[in-house]
């Protein structure tokens, strides 16, 4: 093996975009072997394992951080356009270098620690926040065979690691010794614990239907097309649609996005648990929130939107990993769209929404999924399951909401 051969393989790899990342990884491993031969030693297998792990870690972190950077500018652009503004357009072409400018700004800002803060905990909190967020993406299947760790209990792993961010928010809020911070932290924890239930419940439904907890297994279960063109994604079943929407809203709540951004609701709590953070620590929180948001939406793609599967059979020429990121980008766009539209919930309404609406709905979806399964997963099952989710939806909607609040029940009197 020599270097020229390695170089020659690059165009070859690029010819088949489907397997490009996998082949690229192999190429790097071969490169390491070649380096070893240059020094004159046979590279032992554990080094290769280590390099393999490192390559995956670097790739995942790099991809997600680049996505974070792009998202931070893209979000502002979309939000601006939805609000009839231009958005950032001064730094670089179309404002694309805005994240660079933001990063420099964040780095050069003074790092302020309040006098009475618990300094150690105040320092640790952003790290505790970022680490789980960066671990989360490892189990997502980005393409065929492209998964860093193919865990048989992947979904469980996701929720277990995700629990770490609650601790981090608590640390941040408590250590700041600020009333807004502690209120924000309490809100954050109440919210995350409440929404974890519908989140896990809707994931459980999928796990039950797919018969596996492994993300790859779940994506494979959604492969193939009904009638030759209709994708077998779970979102296109009634129960799946409901579970997907529940998961989507729970994911919004878990990643503290509008309309569930109560913990940092700036109109009430200034910035909640982030009030006393500045400079790079603040940037770390920000980064963790975005990476966590991508991860949880990646899980949504995996669970309901068919992961890396193409939506239509003739579109399979686009590599599978592209499909994953296209779907993720669509979800990211929808997050901003939601943010541009909705006001924030109030804390008690948010809890009511979680416990009185979303949790019962997730049980209904579970029931409906069972009906769908036992009715043979066909059109009949589709119909039954649709009825089984529609009835609780309208009933709960009426009892939880329309009964109390409606614009139609108001009367306005006019005097000449």
């Amino acid at each position: 093996m020599n270097f020229i051969d390695l170089l020659k393989r690059i165009p070859e790899i690029c010819k088949t975009p489907e397997t490009l990342p996998l082949e690229g990884k192999k190429l790097i491993l071969d490169f390491v072997t070649w380096l070893g031969s240059l020094v004159g030693i046979a590279v032992p297998p554990w080094v290769l394992t280590l390099v393999n792990i490192l390559v995956v870690i670097v790739a995942i972190i790099a991809v997600f951080l680049i996505m974070f950077a792009l998202m931070s500018v893209w979000e502002r652009k979309i939000l601006a356009r939805a609000q009839n503004r231009y958005g950032p357009n001064r730094v670089g072409p179309w404002g694309l270098f805005q994240p660079v400018a933001d990063g420099i700004k964040m780095l050069t800002k003074e790092d302020i620690v309040p006098r009475n803060a618990d300094k150690v905990v105040h320092f640790i909190a952003p790290i505790v926040m970022l680490v789980p967020a960066l671990i989360l993406p490892v189990l997502l299947p980005y393409g065929r065979g492209m998964v860093a760790i193919d865990l048989s209990v992947g979904i469980l792993f996701f929720f277990a690691v995700g629990a770490g961010s609650e601790v981090a928010i608590f640390l941040a809020g408590w250590s700041s010794r600020n009333k807004y911070s502690i209120l924000g932290a309490m809100r954050a924890i109440a919210q995350m614990i409440s929404y974890e239930l519908p989140l896990v419940m809707s994931a459980v439904i999928v796990a039950l239907v797919a018969g596996t907890l492994s993300p790859t297994g779940i994506v494979e279960a959604q492969g193939g097309y009904q009638f030759g063109f209709f994708p077998n994604w779970f979102v296109f079943t009634p129960w799946g649609f409901v579970a997907c929407v529940l998961f989507y809203f729970s994911a919004l709540a878990e990643s503290n996005r509008s309309p569930f951004d109560l913990p940092e609701g700036e109109s009430e709590l200034v910035a909640g648990h982030l009030t006393e953070y500045s400079g790079f620590k603040y940037a770390l929180f920000f980064m963790a929130e975005y990476v966590g948001m991508f991860a949880i939406n990646g899980l949504l793609v995996t669970l309901f939107l068919g992961g890396y599967q193409a939506p239509l059979p003739f579109l399979t020429f686009i590599p599978s990993w592209c499909w994953f990121f296209i779907k993720l980008a669509f979800l990211a766009f929808s997050l901003v769209w939601v943010r541009a539209t909705m006001p924030r919930f109030r804390i008690d309404q948010m809890m009511q929404f979680a416990w009185k609406f979303m949790l019962p709905m997730s049980f209904a979806a579970l029931f409906s999924a069972a009906a769908w399964h036992y009715a043979g997963r066909g059109l009949l099952g589709w119909g039954i399951s649709a009825v089984l989710v529609a009835i609780p939806y309208f009933a709960l909607g009426y009892f939880c909401f329309t009964r109390h609040h409606s614009a139609d029940n108001r009367r306005y009197l006019f005097s000449e």
């Binding site: 032992p44 080094v47 618990d118 048989s152 929720f159 277990a160 995700g162 609650e166 408590w174 614990i193």
Partner: protein, 190 residues
């Protein structure tokens, strides 16, 4: 230089996991010790959380991924949070200072230490007993096999052989939850 490099490479890196378990074990013990000894209650709770995490890691090192993740999910995600919440919501320390009659007792510290030591000893003895004298303890399952034991098997075991105890636990927990809710509600009324 070259020799040193060769020597480092020749170390038994492949067997690393077998002794690397010491790290989480150490963290766990230290976390537990800190949880007992620190003065700030929140710090104690955080150290306890740390030892929960380390315990989860230990489970995973043993190949019991499912148990490890459940440990993380339940203990870090829920139990630790509950403890932190409870600490925050109780009036800060003042009650204990004034009203505790035991505090005025001369040898209270000695008694407390003795009581603690007794409990610790009992726990240690029972653990050791369980490890060395229980009939299942000697049947060592090879780690590889444990790792393969899939979630499905656990699920089948839970829902077939131990369904009744599982349901009983569930009912117990529900009852406790309802009780807690009732207590909280009563306090609010008054």
């Amino acid at each position: 230089m070259h020799e040193l490099f060769q020597k480092i490479i020749a170390l038994p890196w492949d067997q690393a996991p077998q002794w690397l378990f010491l790290i989480p074990a150490f963290v766990m013990l230290m976390g537990a010790a800190a949880a007992v000894m620190l003065r700030n209650l929140i710090h104690c709770a955080l150290c306890l959380t740390l030892s929960f995490i380390a315990l989860g890691v230990l489970f995973m090192a043993l190949g019991a991924e499912f148990v490890g993740f459940v440990q993380l999910l339940v203990y870090v995600g829920a139990v630790a949070m509950l403890i932190l919440f409870a600490i925050l919501l109780t009036p800060a320390g003042e009650v204990a200072a004034s009203n505790n009659p035991l505090r005025n007792f001369k040898f209270s510290r000695a008694f407390a230490a003795a009581g603690g030591a007794t409990v610790a000893l009992l726990v240690l003895v029972s653990l050791l007993g369980a490890i060395f004298f229980s009939p299942h303890a000697r049947a060592v399952v090879p780690p590889a096999q444990a790792a393969i034991a899939p979630v499905k098997a656990i699920g089948e075991n839970l829902l077939n052989h131990t369904l009744l105890p599982l349901q009983a636990t569930a009912i117990l927990l529900t009852a406790a939850l309802i009780g807690a809710a009732l207590l909280a509600k009563e306090e609010k009324k008054s």
